[in-house]
Symmetry: C2
Subunit: 467 residues, 2 copies
């Protein structure tokens, strides 16, 4: 485990606020060690920093009440969704109260004619899509984990479909949020576009709970396509697969998903998900459109793939087979960990301009070899975004140090290639030094925004920018 | 003319700063009345508030230098592009210095493989597209006027193509900006997506020069489609045309442009642009895609149009004819003013959820009739956004008052329909009261952001939020 920085605790304030919250919320206030640990835990290599208590609000008014109580006593407030973030986002370095939003799980309104839905933050993406099935609409953003939509909004999540449908920033129309003083605001109307003042919607999307607690989300939906075709295609090298992805994007192919798995990842998911994919670099693809449109896309992609030596193009014959393929892709994080039992996966997350992708992935593989590290690679390559899942024996200090070295080296490389240290996982605690490297002077203005909107630094302190 | 609020002037500071700037910039410092008036003027009914001087920087460093000089003496700094904004955005209610960015008109880099371009703020959208023609790429956002890309970024512009390609918020990858203290920042890398901290890019997009001066813009480009087909289709009523637009969007038709003109607007552009379009409510359309894809889109649209009584569907046979049609649409603002010579056009700009569009347009027409106002309607109806160009005899106080009443009534109606008081023109001075009505408590947090990033309120003061 990596120790994250600890911040000074306001013991007296915490004690007072906890007392008030306990009395007010009864059973919905919990301070047992197990539940506290669970709310500090995320899918991460950063050590747990548990909050002092967890409260389970059921309404926006209750969230506002919790924030007002904590604000009055200058106690940290940390929003919690499903705990699938990867950079220590829900840790409590100064203690405080975790606000578990999972009971705010209602779909409040479907505006089918406007292709919009209004949800509470605790609705998960799978629950939403199940709910929407009957109206012929779906919400495309899919980060893999069955995350909550509040958490996905807070971390500007993206994932496999982003190449076609964009990220959360492109699919959130408006938010309701509780600000640091307990005021409830709406950031925008339901209009599809607007020039009405500063874009508070986009300011809150990706703010990781540090500027406000998201209590309601208006999302843009998509019609379920007439035709969906999934496929896989093998390549002689990761470089060739990346080049195929780059050519498809440059051609303007509206591919809905285009996922790279290196040979090691394919091997892992074959074993974990009982598949028999050829153990070579692979692109998993999905095309959305009309019947004719999808056929045309498939034909174009095959021509591109052939040009760089792709082979074994195979479409999923049934929806069942398609779902199986994507389930396997989503389970890759768990699958790769079985390659080396007893290890912990460090998920890296860089994103570079697509023209630099093949070079960046190739350099990452060479560097892992040089450092004696094992790190299967998967990537949302249509966006220039990839992850290596470093499998590290956490009891081996030397290996830990080499893994740290690799992570820093890779982030630096991505930044040098005009890319970013995080395509989708966010900054949390883990990426704070790299944000500074990436955007330098701009981070001072992020800090100024944070201080302006949360002067006492009670909203998820110790994340994104140091104050 | 409508008088805008005047703010207190810092006479001593202005005098000192002007003296320094004059010495430093020589001929590129101008303080003649005509040039000052031109830089206060915008395409608007709000009275001119001229700056005290205009400076023409040629580099980011020069912009930073101007801002540092003005910051030292607490003098307003107002960024100026082409002066086509509509809500008094470039007025100088407290005097100060207009920073004319038209000499910063270089295309700095084309990253064709990444579908990106880096431009200075003074590049106009037409100049950019001319520049890009040889590489087979184009920049889709088209607000009608040949605006500068800096100005389009600052006002979160959109226009005819937004229904398919989004607005400026969706097409700006990264910005370089000079902040209120003269610091130059970069808001993001060139990666296609990122979760690296607060979205300063989207915070500056639409900030109308009040948070920073944009000195460099990295834009997302599109490949020029294999096939482009423009067409027109008449409808028995504005209501039917709106319903056709709504059905096309709900169907998921990826129409590139879908513009409504009411019968009065058609009549005006027929006369102004020497066309002979049927003088009935009209949709002007454009479809982008492969040959087969465009044919499929046309077929789908025609079926939808027929369902609501559309007739006279006619495709533009040649690129020349297509350009003529869009030129006429773009000239509509000028064309409608010829309907009633001697009047001034008030351009309204509401945007509602598309399910409410037909109702909103119908109500607007009825209200204009009731008030005895003439206001042809054009609209980017695929986005739920429309404009009525109220043709007002500014010498008639009663008519002026009725026009004011209509504007207020329409903004209130749009807000009541869960829409916005501005789809694309921005807040400037003219929409400030409506922003407050639309977003209420949220505007206090906009003001907090403004105070944090510009504590002395020198960047385009008196716009968006009152401090």
């Amino acid at each position: 485990m990596v120790q994250a920085t600890t911040l000074p605790r306001n013991e007296a304030g915490i004690e007072t606020a906890l007392g008030i919250l306990k009395q007010r919320f009864g059973d919905r206030f919990q301070a047992g060690q197990a539940i506290r640990d669970q709310h500090g835990h995320t899918t991460t290599w950063i050590a747990n920093q548990a909050p002092d208590a967890v409260v389970f609000p059921e309404t926006t008014d209750e969230v506002a009440e919790i924030v007002r109580i904590c604000a009055a006593h200058k106690v940290p407030v940390i929003a919690f969704g499903t705990g699938t973030s990867l950079e220590g986002h829900v840790n409590a370095p100064a203690g405080g109260v975790s606000v578990d939003l999972t009971r705010m799980d209602k779909v409040l309104a479907i505006h089918a004619e406007d292709l919009q839905v209004v949800v509470q933050p605790g609705v998960t993406r799978e629950a939403l899509n199940t709910h929407l099935r009957d109206v012929g609409l779906f919400f495309p953003i899919d980060p893999g984990a069955n995350a909550s939509l509040g958490g996905m909004t807070a971390t500007r999540a993206s994932g496999t479909n982003a190449v076609r449908y964009g990220t959360m920033k492109d699919n959130v129309i408006a938010l309701e949020a509780v600000m640091a003083d307990g005021t409830v605001i709406r950031t925008a109307s339901r209009a599809k576009k607007s020039s009405a003042g500063y874009d508070l919607t986009r300011l809150l999307v990706g703010s990781e709970g540090t500027l406000g607690l998201i209590t309601e989300i208006t999302l843009r939906l998509q019609g379920i396509p007439e035709a969906i075709s999934a496929a896989r295609c093998s390549f002689p090298s990761v470089d060739a697969a990346c080049r195929a992805a780059m050519m498809a994007i440059q051609f303007g192919l509206p591919v809905a998903r285009m996922e790279l798995l290196d040979a090691m990842s394919v091997k892992a998911i074959n074993a974990y998900s009982k598949l028999d994919l050829p153990e070579e670099p692979l692109l998993l693809l999905e095309f959305h459109g009309s019947d004719a449109g999808v056929a045309e896309q498939v034909e174009t992609f095959r021509a591109i793939a052939e040009e760089v030596g792709g082979s074994g193009y195979e479409g999923a014959a049934t929806a069942e087979e398609r779902n199986r393929l994507w389930k396997a892709r989503h389970d890759a994080y768990w699958a790769v960990q079985t390659l080396r039992p007893g290890t912990k996966a460090f998920a890296t997350d860089v994103c570079v301009p697509i023209s630099r992708l093949a070079e960046c992935v190739g350099a990452a593989q060479a560097k892992m070899d040089e450092l004696g590290l094992l790190g299967p690679i998967v990537g949302h390559v249509g966006d220039g975004n990839f992850h290596s899942a470093l499998l590290v024996d956490m009891t081996d200090d030397g290996e830990r140090a080499r893994a740290d070295e690799f992570v820093g080296w890779l982030n630096d490389l991505a930044i040098a290639m005009e890319g970013t240290c995080t395509g989708e996982h966010g900054i949390g605690q883990g990426k704070m030094p790299y944000l500074e490297k990436e955007l330098g002077p701009a981070t001072a203005y992020m800090a100024a925004v944070k201080r302006a909107l949360d002067p006492d630094n009670i909203l998820n302190p110790g994340k994104i920018v140091a104050l």
